[in-house]
Amino acid sequence: MDTANDKPRLVLIGNGMAGMRTVEELLKLTPDMYDITVFGAEPWGNYNRIMLSPVLASEKTVDEIMLNDDAWYAERGITLHKGRRIERIDRVNRRVIAEDGTEAPYDRLLLATGSDPVMIPVPGHELEGVVAFRDIHDVDAMLAASRAHQHAVVIGGGLLGLEAANGLMRQGMEVTVVHLMDHLMERQLDAEAAGMLRGSLEERGMRFRMAHQTEAILGEDRVTGVRFTDGSEVEADLVVMAVGIRPNTALAESAGLHCERGVVVNDTMQTYDPSIYAVGECVQHRGATYGLVAPLWEQAKVCANHLAEYGIGRYEGSMTSTKLKVTGIDLFSAGDFTGDETTEDLVFKDAARGVYKRLVLKDNRIQGAVLYGDTLDGSWYFQLMRDGTPVADIRENLLFGQAHIGDSGHGDEASRVAAMPDNAEICGCNGVCKGEIVQAISEHKLFTLEDVRAHTKASNSCGSCTGLVESLLATTLGGDYSDAPAKKPVCACTDHSHDEVRAAITRDGLKTMDAVFEALDWKTPNGCHVCRPALNYYLLAAWPKDYQDDAQSRFINERAHGNIQKDGTYSVVPRIWGGVTTPAELRAIAEVAERYQVPTVKFTGGQRIDLLGVKKADLPAMWRDLGDAGFVSGHAYGKALRTVKTCVGSEWCRFGTQDSTGLGIQLERMSWGSWTPHKFKMAVSGCPRNCAEATIKDLGVVCVDSGYELHVGGNGGVKVRATDFLCKVETEAEVLEYAGAFMQFYREDARYLERTAPWIERVGLTRVKERLVDDAENRAALYARFLESQEVAQVDPWAERAAGHAAHEFIPITPVDAPPRQGVSA
């Protein structure tokens, strides 16, 4: 039993989905920390259990659903004992003993024994031809029966029962589903949806015995029929019991581990014996047991983290959603839709189209959802539900789906991606098409975004196509994919989410990047290109006066104060307050452009002048010349205030009601230089004709006769979004206060790289109104914090660099004794 080396030994009992997922996650973190031994009662490598339904329906083969074959285990040095059930855990001597006597010692033990199908103990339940629906063995038995026999009875009208019934029907059997209740899938569906589901299954030829209780299974050797308590009988050569599952705790119990309905674990997936962990269907966590894979994967991640001794990450329970894997039937259910006096129902029904949607709201948040016939928005509702997003603001359109919410013309991602042809390019950076991704998902059995990234490179670079790739996963995997967990870590360097990191920075007074790495157990010595810029921003926003900005954690645009272009040159945009300039300024810009041989001079969409194609080494000198002419940086490169666009307003326009130009200039003077989670744009229009396009800006002001309308959360970028109306104010001073307070709220609340549009959609306009409009005191406090941080923020980076700051950034090194240099670019 001695191992050649001194590695700790990890033994896994249960070669199923949760256990092996944990091992895979562990190997990702530390490939050779443990000597790993796996015991599985089933005689094969591990496979995708949820794909048994498609196997039964002949839509997939068993080979296609294998996740890891023998070679996979061998390559990783994992000892696999197939077909060996563990009979006893000897906790005193820390070893496990299998039925056939095989033993293995452990330092850490992982239990992932899944669950057992419930077999109702009616007379006859042990007859030949009575099976469960749990493993490959059961599927083989059903397929064999379907070849020799005609009549099948499925006991249980839940998810599993219906999938079994559908599969058997696809094999040509006549199938009767027996259900105790008078509506199907009562745990997932309300009566209405259940009725529609039953209707379409009946159309396909499925028969039902609703509100029937089985009394006996009839037959001598093999089943011949089923008798119910009302005395009626039905003929059967095959009986499938699909009435539920029971966590498999027998082994754990016999070893004296504390079990209730399942093996009880804490938030780190430890049982009452700290060297024994448990994951999957066999566990009970905070009172809940789970029978779907999405929660198991969250558990696997947390468990692996602790096995790897990172010691961070907690499992805090999951919300689940389900879909029925019956081809041609779209059904989605999530959360709790039972409802009571404190909840409200939103219902949409179009019987002719076979569409039914029901959302249960509680305190303005989605608590449950049932969709039938049109499930396109299922993942969106689920997201809103998990994030606890208030939906009061979008309530009117909620049932019509995401495509109808503040999103002009593009439609939501799921329908967009579904409509794309196979050769449509999804990932522009790496040139990956839809077809390639879909093929990789099905061929390599990918479940997660990370998997897709590793196999196809899609979404691996700039990440802007991440949403599309997630939609592709969802559409390709259907029921198997239930998005990534609600809590997304900032990046692979940590298990903490943006919100957790931000909270820790202010709560624990962390004032340097190293302090954050240390306090939150970062896995990498100095982070990566994803987390460092985010941390730099969070620290800066939290401690504007104390934190020392870290240039090396800024993306090159912000570090070099110009936009990097595709050929490695930069573009320079001087600030032009409110878009108003003078002949002298124009002349100065023209001269600078000629002096530095700027190849392209262009007006931007924000009414500024862009000088493109500047060599990096020329930047400081050019900035000095621009500075001499009175210009400061336009921050066109930064996650910062960009521009305030204006129209001519009352000064010139015959429609103008207020001085929109003057107000725009004041706004820009107040807010320039401030760093924000993402770029921030404003505009002021002199009347509702809105020539400055204020209603697609992060903050837009529309002047009217009686004052100023304030609009927030607009975006003219990838996904066009019109602003939400915030409130109306009467004076310019109020506009400034609201604008500063809004920016500050956004700075303190949004996640890094989250623009105001998605931020408002996530937190809800109501919340913004509560803090800014209804609460004058809070508004004043936000505004004060904004102005305070502006005291140190309004330093022109161009002037600093023109004066020699960070010169190394711009001047290349020429080796002392090197031959003279040819070529130009720096």
């Binding site: 800024r554 490695g568 080796p815 003279p820």
Partner: protein, 123 residues
């Protein structure tokens, strides 16, 4: 080998880079958090982005154009990406950085180099 004195180590910011102008094109010289130095041709194997302008983390740099992550030792793209940019021998003695870019002329890589030149498709 022909070692050239480049600059004092302190001229390169920690977790930062400098560009060295060589007759055969720019070379990016990186300094890791632990003061080790690395030198790569300043051209990302993806679309030629200037690696010297990227964010340095651990022993890697992320290209500023499309976020490929390049290994500083070998010049190889990491993760799912593949491609390689030339790595040059580099070392620090008494606070002085020395670089040998004779390899950039296309000469075969020198086996005695301190830093392996592990490119499969050099240059």
């Amino acid at each position: 080998m022909s070692w050239l004195a480049i600059c004092p180590l302190e001229d390169i910011p920690p977790l930062g880079a400098r560009v060295v102008a060589s007759p055969n094109g720019d070379i990016a010289v990186f300094r890791a958090a632990d003061d080790r130095v690395f030198a790569l041709r300043d051209q990302c194997p993806h679309k030629g982005g200037p690696l010297s302008q990227g964010i340095v983390h651990g022993e890697r740099v992320t290209c500023p154009l499309h976020n490929w992550v390049i290994d500083l030792q070998s010049g190889e793209a990491t993760g799912a990406d593949s491609g390689c940019t030339h790595a040059f021998p580099i070392r620090v003695t008494d606070g002085q950085v020395w670089l040998d870019f004779s390899g950039a002329t296309g000469d075969a890589a020198d086996d005695t180099a301190e830093v392996p030149v592990a490119c499969r498709e050099a240059g």
